[in-house]
């Protein structure tokens, strides 16, 4: 990094990259993988997500994030569909993951009983 301009150029590029990710219509699943999440079973949730994606041959991006503060409600998982707000689900079990993937990720219907909040863009 040789100058501030270089950083700003990089930022524009990565911002664009992220925009592009939106444009290619790829849903994103984000799993809370802080220590609190892992202790509450986030690894199992992540495994279940990967299994479902594999089984249904879905084109979904799976990433992780840190503790958002609601440790009480871990494991947490966010679903971000292209052009939509990011939806947070909490207190998840492996069975819930299947429902969220079928209803929300594939069909676009939010699973209301499991929802906690919405993160606006």
């Amino acid at each position: 990094m040789k100058s501030l301009e270089e950083l700003r150029e990089l930022r524009e590029k990565v911002e664009k990259d992220m925009e592009m990710r939106k444009e290619i219509n790829k849903p994103k699943i984000i799993i809370g993988m802080g220590t609190c999440g892992i202790a509450a079973g986030a690894r199992e949730i992540l495994k279940a997500v990967m299994e479902e994606i594999d089984k249904r041959d879905l084109d979904v991006e799976v990433t992780q994030t840190g503790c958002i503060g609601m440790c009480e409600k871990e494991p947490l998982m966010d679903v971000k569909l292209p052009g939509k707000d990011r939806i947070t689900y909490g207190n998840l079990t492996k069975e819930d993951v299947k429902r969220i993937i079928v209803n929300h990720v594939i069909n676009g219907n939010v699973v209301d009983e499991l929802v906690i909040a919405r993160l606006e863009e």
Binding site: R8, I30, T35, G66, G69, M70, D85, V110, D112
Partner: protein, 600 residues
Amino acid sequence: MKDTIYRSHVLICTGTGCVSSGSKEIKHELQDQLAEKDLLNEIKIVETGCHGFCEKGPIMVIYPEGVFYCQIKEEDVAEIVDEHLLKGRIVDRLLFKEPMTEESIPSYKDIDFYKKQHRIALANCGKINPESIEEYIANNGYEAAGRALTEMSPQKIIEEVKNSGLRGRGGGGFPTGLKWQFASDNESDKKYVICNADEGDPGAFMDRSILEGDPHRIIEGMLISGYAIGADEGYVYVRAEYPLAIERLEKAINEAEELGLLGEDIFGSGFNFKLHIKKGAGAFVCGEETALMASIEGRRGMPNPRPPYPAEKGLWGKPTNINNVETYANIPYIINEGSEVFSSIGTENSKGTKVFALTGKIKNTGLVEVPMGTTLREVVFEIGGGLTEDKKYKAIQTGGPSGGCIPEEYLDLPIDYDSLVDVGAMMGSGGMVVMDESTCMVDVARFFLSFTQNESCGKCTPCREGTKRMLEILNRICDGEGKEGDIKLLLELGEHIKATSLCGLGQTAPNPVLSTIKYFRNEYEAHINDNKCPAGVCQELAAGYTINENTCVGCGQCVKVCPVDAITKGDGNYYVIDSEVCISCGACEKKCPVDAISQG
């Protein structure tokens, strides 16, 4: 042939999905019901194909109304026939409910847990991928470092931090800008910056969460600090018990090095900076800055007298700036937004926000970041959602083993560094343990003191011997062997340990005892004078349990849970507890389905 005119059509889905969830049985049941009510000539049953809504099957649609029923069970059919088909009343509970639309979901900023929060240090936590430097940069990351290194002089940065009013978030609350000024003023060929991530307070986990959730923010904060004081090397001292934090930080450092955000000639400014991780072995005292530096140097983690302060003679005798994780996490915000924006948040002498780790008997366990000056009541009851099982609030313990317990009368106290000290507690790193009426305050004091006593490094006598004697007295009191004069002795010992210990550990170790005596002296007196533990926690003092033979239904569940076989069958259909054997654990009381068991 004349077609029969039906007044109603009932469509039953017999797609594979609905059949597997029982639509065939429903159709038969409907046929039986209609025959019974002699409605077969009026109402037509139609089997249909799949509606594509198998999730909610079996599905039934009734015309002419077009009512859509879903997830019907066999036993619902009679109700549909009686209510809907005979009386024309729609069965609400079986109606299909629209799936929640995004608009009907509360936004993060509207839910109680986040409404009062103001996130600066935690801004990215839970929102970005901590293992991707691109996501950090896309969220304006390293902009502050870039501007600081290319557009600001070191002194200008120090002025900004001073003007912001930022104070150390690790517990002491020393003004950060002033600390940087001292380190900057001391001329030397070599200087260091250190990030203290040796988070050891029971119940505190904000530093870990920041390192796990947003490691680049710490790197950026340290980079700016290094440039401001003229240090080209930094250490993050993080406890080895935080493997995930270490892993993410390592990855972040590597990514930053690859992009040239760490290394040589950063942003073309000629400034070089490298960063190392030092894993701590888990000694609580290593959170004390001089002990921490001794540990980095490879020596035993024990504190040294100050002065000289680290800013003068720190790591390997060189001027060193040492700040806590959360302190560094505030730096990029201050540079980006300006000191005025930062200092507009908070109270007169405590600016900005503070992260608290809410634990204990509270509904919303978690991490909250609120502006300084927020009241305890807002934190506990609005953000925290109140106490579990809606029990009565008794006290909140802040500041970990160095802090104190705050009783109900101070719930409306605006939280800042000074207000907490005024009531005998302290900010500490921000751990908040909520206690309800079932907590014994003597036992709490004993818990915290046994922690500090264990972690005392043993270097100075007041802390090493004094905390041991205090703990002995507390143990005695909890065992029902308290003596008159114990409270006075505890107070005397406590004051002496505070006044004469070498480091912060000893100077604050008596705080939990002193503050509980101050606010809950009656509980100490009940233990000593009346041989009673009002909360029923101290087992040696707890009154035995008895069973009310009139209420007892003789189910015998208490017998199964009693760990000492104190419960036997009485003369009638009830049980009795042998008070000689009973250890007052309370297991039977919790199990009893008719509340026949009580204490005393």
